[in-house]
């Protein structure tokens, strides 16, 4: 088997892993080395599905001892198997890197023989890269659940970021679909990595040249839509992971049916892309906008509104919070206005130091007035001639496409009076044109 076949098989097996970021650490090559990393991360290409390609994302091997029902690499699946030798992989990485194809390596693996043996293979590949090629680029490695902590520590010294995949958001789902894994076997290495990062950060203060352990932090990912877990549960879990385990990112991946199993959605199910999109929106609200999971969803509203993004949805249910004076409101409040994002909020805070802002100024700063105008005042005034009515607000918060879909779903009652802000929104009906939905998700609503 030549390297072309191996690359094809092992890329194909790795592509369902979502994380491909190269962010979180700034460094440059030492003399005699090659490679650097930028904290912002750098995308080197975008694949046909629109996802960023930053790292060479491959598996060490797709041979696997486990039989997780949702996974393409499960033991019982009849698929071609291959393994890279550590040296092959290191050579491929360095040659791609020199041509600026990639920012570094994303290395995951199926479980060959046992977790420890697999991790040793990964460590050897990374050791060749770091020591023999003096590679200073970005490396993201997966910690295989069940690996000895000594090996995890060794792996962590060679990588910039590590991740342990949660995959299924609850213990019961795990039990059902991934009988070889348990909540404990996943959270234990996560905890261990977190502790090591913390210890290391005090070492680095004491000794300037102390080697760094996983300097870009750790991340994880969850599959959406393979199990009956609700958005509320997933979002709460996400928030917990950020707080308790200090994760840098939680990734979501809409479930792609890859296996026939009575416990799983059928093979012709389309991936719940809109749900994934809403979860990412909420994730951003948690990380950059100062929202908490409980503000976005609660016991009685366990799913996201399909027609409105979580921030608009929150604003509509908290009209008492508005209108807001943009010239006075603190940054944290500005972030809560639909149509104002992190960048425009920062610009507002800077620009209002030298002048009182008017509506046309806000437009220049990048505020989306179509949405924001219902929630803000400039110098005590609202936009001239603006009438705030329920349906007007609702219409402004949806894109034309979404609004069209909303009417399409309820053709007979599309009278404006029927649009209500405060009722639980109807779910997307089963006959919903998925293609349209996917297209509308291309642009944030």
């Amino acid at each position: 088997m030549d390297v072309f076949d191996k690359l094809k098989i092992l890329t194909d097996a790795a592509k369902y892993d979502v994380a491909c970021t190269s962010s979180g650490v700034n460094k440059k090559a030492a003399a005699g080395g090659v490679g650097s990393a930028a904290a912002s991360g750098i995308c080197h290409s975008f694949s046909g599905d629109g996802r960023c390609i930053s790292l060479l994302k491959v598996l060490m091997t797709n041979v696997c001892a486990y039989d997780c029902k949702y996974c393409v690499n499960r033991k019982s699946n009849d698929t071609p198997r291959a393994s890279f030798t550590p040296r092959e992989l290191a050579e491929l990485t360095i040659n791609f890197y020199r041509r600026n194809y990639i920012e570094g390596l994303f290395l995951s693996s199926g479980v060959l023989k046992n977790p420890d043996y697999t991790t040793e293979q990964m460590i050897e590949a990374l050791r060749i890269l770091r020591e023999e090629y003096r590679f200073f680029g970005y490396i993201h490695a997966k910690a295989i659940p069940g690996t000895d902590s000594r090996l995890i520590a060794q792996l962590g010294m060679l990588t910039d970021r590590m991740s342990v995949n949660i995959e299924l958001p609850s213990q019961s789902s795990l039990q059902m679909l991934a009988p070889d894994k348990s909540k404990h076997s996943i959270l234990a290495p996560m905890k261990y990595i977190q502790n090591r990062i913390q210890e290391n950060s005090t070492d680095v203060i004491k000794y300037r040249h102390a080697p760094k352990f996983v300097p870009a932090g750790q991340s994880t990912q969850m599959i959406i839509g393979a199990t009956p877990d609700t958005d509320f549960q997933i979002l709460n879990l996400t928030e917990g992971l950020y707080k308790k385990y200090k994760l840098k990112r939680v990734f979501f991946s809409a479930y792609m049916p890859v296996a026939e199993n009575t416990l799983l959605p059928t093979l012709d199910t389309t991936p719940p892309l809109w749900r994934e999109h809403r979860l990412y929106q909420a994730d951003w609200l948690l990380r950059f906008y100062g929202f908490t999971a409980n503000e976005l969803l609660d016991q009685h509203h366990q799913s996201f509104n399909p027609y409105l993004d979580p921030k608009c949805n929150w604003a509509l249910h908290h009209m008492d919070f508005f209108p807001m004076n943009v010239n006075r409101a603190p940054y944290s409040d500005l972030l809560r206005v639909p149509g104002i994002g992190v960048n425009s909020a920062k610009r507002i805070v800077i620009a209002r130091r030298s002048a009182t802002l008017q509506f046309n100024d806000l437009k220049k700063l990048g505020v989306v007035l179509k949405r924001a105008q219902y929630f803000i005042t400039c110098g005590g005034k609202v936009t001239g001639g603006l009438k705030i009515t329920q349906d007007k607000v609702l219409q402004s918060l949806m894109s034309e496409k979404t609004l069209g879909m909303y009417h399409q779903s309820f053709p007979l009652q599309s009278q404006i009076k029927q649009l209500s802000l405060f009722e639980q929104p109807p779910m997307i009906p089963s006959g919903f044109p998925q293609e349209d939905l996917q297209r509308c998700l291309t642009n944030p609503i």
């Binding site: 072309f4 080395g33 290409s45």
Partner: protein, 267 residues
């Protein structure tokens, strides 16, 4: 004194030259309606005033900028000068006039039209140079890394540090076709030089096989069920594709068909 309403400055296209325009504007208490390059065809309706570049004047202006409005402002107009914005010279002059009046706070006057337009131009420049840090594709010819780009803005000065830190031990060349310039680097020194044209040799066997491996990887990593060309295009506009290996030539596994890939290398 020229009539204010239809005065045009012509300068030599250098940053120093532009600073002399600023000097002139204050010296003669006048504001031009346009600042043009030497080779711009002129209309007879307007008075064109030649601004001679005088290092003494420009260094006085240069020294005054950080003093009056801070280093951020200087850094900002230096970058504004690299943008492809057609009226950048005039707007830089207007920006500096604002700066001399308001001091440091000029950098926070984001709602001001002059400041706003320049900020947007600089953002375009920054975005493009950031994207190109990822989209540049090197080919290796006798152990020298060579790449071509066709950016709208003059991004090479902003890419020097990044690539020098990334490949400190390599020798590389990035050719900017739009501006006829190239960034060249050999261990521990870099320069931006003017190059008329660049003709690349045929790739050797090893280079060709890594290109094909990369194309194979690129095609395989896509999840077919989520195909979304619009999303890809918004992140990676098509004008960058021309020099990217993953879109070059037919994809075949059989090694070595040089004429196929030569097409996209030598336009």
């Amino acid at each position: 004194m020229f009539d204010q309403s239809n005065l045009i400055y012509r300068y030599d296209g250098s940053f120093d030259g532009l600073l002399c325009c600023v000097f002139e504007s204050y010296d003669k208490k006048e504001i031009p309606t346009e600042i043009i390059l030497p080779d711009t065809s002129q209309t007879l309706l307007f008075t064109v005033k030649e601004i001679r570049t005088d290092v003494q004047k420009s260094s006085r202006v240069l020294a005054s900028i950080p003093e009056k409005m801070g280093f951020d402002a200087l850094n900002f107009i230096r970058r504004a000068f690299l943008t492809c914005f057609t009226q950048k010279e005039l707007y830089i002059l207007l920006f500096l006039r604002l700066g001399y009046r308001h001091g440091q706070s000029v950098m926070s006057m984001l709602a001001n039209d002059v400041v706003n337009i320049l900020f947007k131009a600089v953002k375009h420049l920054d975005n493009e140079s950031h994207l190109l840090k990822g989209f540049v594709r090197f080919s290796i010819f006798s152990n020298i890394l060579v790449a071509q780009i066709e950016p709208k803005n003059y991004v090479l000065p902003l890419m020097t540090q990044h690539f020098s830190e990334r490949y400190p031990e390599e020798r590389f060349l990035i050719y900017d076709k739009t501006h006829g310039m190239a960034l060249v680097y050999q261990p521990y020194q870099s320069a931006i030089i003017s190059i008329e044209d660049l003709e690349l040799p045929e790739p050797d066997e090893q280079e060709q096989s890594y290109r094909e491996l990369w194309q194979l990887f690129y095609d395989t990593i896509e999840i077919q069920g989520r195909h979304n060309p619009k999303c890809r295009m918004s992140h990676m506009p098509k004008r960058y594709w021309k020099y990217m290996t993953e879109f070059g030539g037919p994809r075949k596994k059989s090694p070595l068909k040089l004429e196929d890939t030569a097409k996209f290398l030598i336009p």
